[in-house]
């Protein structure tokens, strides 16, 4: 089919507008949550923990919190939009359109990346006042933020297609996304873990996203950023192939 750039752009804009119209809930609330984490953990642990030489715990924590917010909100955007449209029935407007599965993918994932980055920037803008930021290798910040958000936006797309009820997307979030984020080194360096848990962390793609992202700030990381990029890149391609396949076959959206 001929490419429908205008259609893809429209769906992308609609998905961005959708969260922006309720930004108190979709942007301000997650920023507040991240700030509360920083206040509590920073206050309790600042004097006790130093992960990298010369880097205070609050400074260490900020990039982790920013990335956690990016990932969770990218997931929330595509998953909640799809499940809402499915349940309310207005997905039909999109289903009768000539948009291809590539267009759906680009628009839903693209808007998820935007939501993730907007919330991430919000968290950074508020938390940066608690500890002066370093930008040792800033390109890694951009690369891992965008790629991580795209990966979670894609997972949200898959969850939104699969789920039939709101609690199913919430379960996906609570039992998969949340544990994988929390166990990825947001609040600690995995080097501080016992060997078994360190090994397990290395099997978690979220660990590489957060480690690579943090590398951009401190120039130090648990693994090489190139290794992290390879793991995150391959993981993204894998979930993207699944999502595109589900969209092309109309999984649970075309009977």
């Amino acid at each position: 089919m001929s490419s429908n750039f205008e259609g893809t752009r429209t769906l992308f804009n609609k998905e961005v507008l959708r969260f922006w119209k309720v930004s108190v809930q979709t942007v301000a609330a997650p920023v507040l949550t991240a700030v509360l984490y920083l206040l509590i953990f920073g206050h309790v642990l600042e004097a006790h923990v130093q992960v990298y030489p010369g880097v205070g715990y609050t400074s260490f924590l900020i990039p982790g919190l920013v990335m956690m917010s990016v990932l969770q909100n990218a997931y929330a955007n595509s998953s909640s939009s799809l499940i809402q449209s499915k349940i309310s029935g207005n997905l039909v407007f999109l289903l009768v359109s000539p948009l291809s599965h590539w267009a759906w993918f680009a628009a839903y994932v693209g808007a998820s990346v935007v939501r993730g980055l907007v919330v991430g920037l919000g968290v950074f803008a508020v938390t940066v006042w608690f500890a002066p930021p370093h930008f040792a290798e800033p390109w890694w910040i951009v690369v891992f933020a965008v790629l991580g958000a795209a990966m979670l936006g894609t997972l949200g797309l898959i969850a939104g297609l699969w789920a039939e009820k709101f609690d199913q997307t919430a379960a996906f979030q609570n039992f998969l996304i949340m544990p994988m984020t929390f166990l990825s080194g947001v609040f600690y360096s995995v080097h501080s873990l016992p060997a078994f848990w360190q090994g397990l962390s290395h099997a978690n793609p979220f660990f590489y996203m957060i480690d690579g992202f943090r590398r951009g700030f401190f120039g130090a990381s648990d693994v090489s950023p190139w290794v992290a990029l390879a793991v995150v890149g391959v993981s993204f391609v894998a979930v993207a192939v699944v999502a595109l396949r589900l969209l092309a076959t109309g999984y649970k959206i075309r009977s």
Binding site: M1, N4, K14, S88, V92, F93, L95, P98, R254
Partner: protein, 303 residues
């Protein structure tokens, strides 16, 4: 020129709780360019399944459907560009105003600057003063108008209306039919499913009737009306009808309606009523309408 819509041996089997359910069983018919075509049938006959396959909301198990010559699976983008669907369910996007919804729908079809046509649609459907109102705040009838407008943003040559007047007030029906009839006159093909048979009789030049997933009648509306029982006996009574008459009567409260092929058959029916001692009031004899034709065909199929 190809037909506007071609259904060619379309079958659809759903996996149900108690085994496979055959919703459509080899449905074939064409809707010609410029026609106002009616698709009728009782609940569960497969009308909405057929429309869903046409729109790409469902896939046929076997068979083929084309819109303006474009296969709805292999060439779905071109097929959907040619098709405007008004869905049966009253759905809306609560995040957006009426105008925003119409702009978004235009964009999906690759149209960026569509405001002059959107304005025309808003006026034609009586939505002009609701353009900037959030769709969530509209009444059911207004939401239905927005659905019609959304289906028409890309000026599709083929318009499909799936039960568009279910639960809709008289005023909206008039507006809607005036507008759709106008589009039909301009050359748009219209495919309509409805439960209101007087609407189908008034609007549709040709009709297909579905029952249990099969086409049981397909003809010009005039031929359908002429070809079956053409006389209708209508009367009021408090008495029980004789079995031979009751079997073919449509009874609503005190009112009974019985179809007859000709004057001789009217005589026979009246004779049976007399023999049965049925006291008849307000007897009328008139021409049968599409509802009678529909019931007769459905009963014949059941027998």
């Amino acid at each position: 020129m190809p037909a506007a819509v071609v259904f060619d041996q379309v079958a659809k089997t759903f996996a149900g709780a108690r085994g496979a359910v055959r919703a459509l069983d080899g449905v074939s018919f064409n809707v010609e360019l410029g026609e106002f075509f009616g698709l009728l049938g009782p609940n569960g006959a497969g009308k909405t399944t057929l429309i869903s396959i046409l729109a790409g909301l469902a896939r046929a198990s076997t068979g083929r459907v084309t819109v303006m010559g474009h296969d709805v699976v292999a060439d779905y983008a071109a097929a959907r560009m040619a098709l405007g669907i008004v869905p049966q369910e009253l759905v809306f996007d609560p995040f957006f105003s009426v105008r925003e919804c119409l702009r978004i729908q235009s964009g999906y079809f690759g149209i960026r600057h569509n405001d002059s046509w959107i304005d025309e649609l808003l006026v034609g459907l009586g939505l002009a003063d609701k353009a900037d109102v959030n769709t969530r705040q509209l009444s059911g009838g207004m939401k239905r108008r927005v659905l019609v407008a959304q289906a028409l943003v890309h000026k599709p040559p083929v318009i499909v209306l799936d039960e568009p007047t279910a639960g809709v007030d008289v005023e909206l029906r008039q507006t809607l039919w005036g507008f759709i009839a106008g589009l039909n006159k301009q050359g748009h093909t219209v495919l309509l499913t409805t439960h209101y048979l007087e609407e189908a009789e008034a609007l549709c030049s040709r009709i297909a009737m579905l029952k249990q997933g099969r086409v049981v009648a397909l003809d010009r509306t005039a031929n359908l009306l002429a070809g079956t029982a053409s006389t209708m006996l209508r009367f009021k009574t408090d008495d029980a009808l004789p079995a031979a008459v009751a079997a073919r009567a449509r009874v609503t409260g005190r009112v009974a309606q019985v179809t007859a092929r000709d004057a001789g058959e009217v005589e026979v029916i009246l004779g049976r009523l007399r023999e049965g001692g049925v006291k008849v009031e307000d007897l009328e004899i008139g021409r049968a309408d599409l509802e009678d034709v529909f019931l007769e065909i459905m009963q014949k199929e059941a027998a």
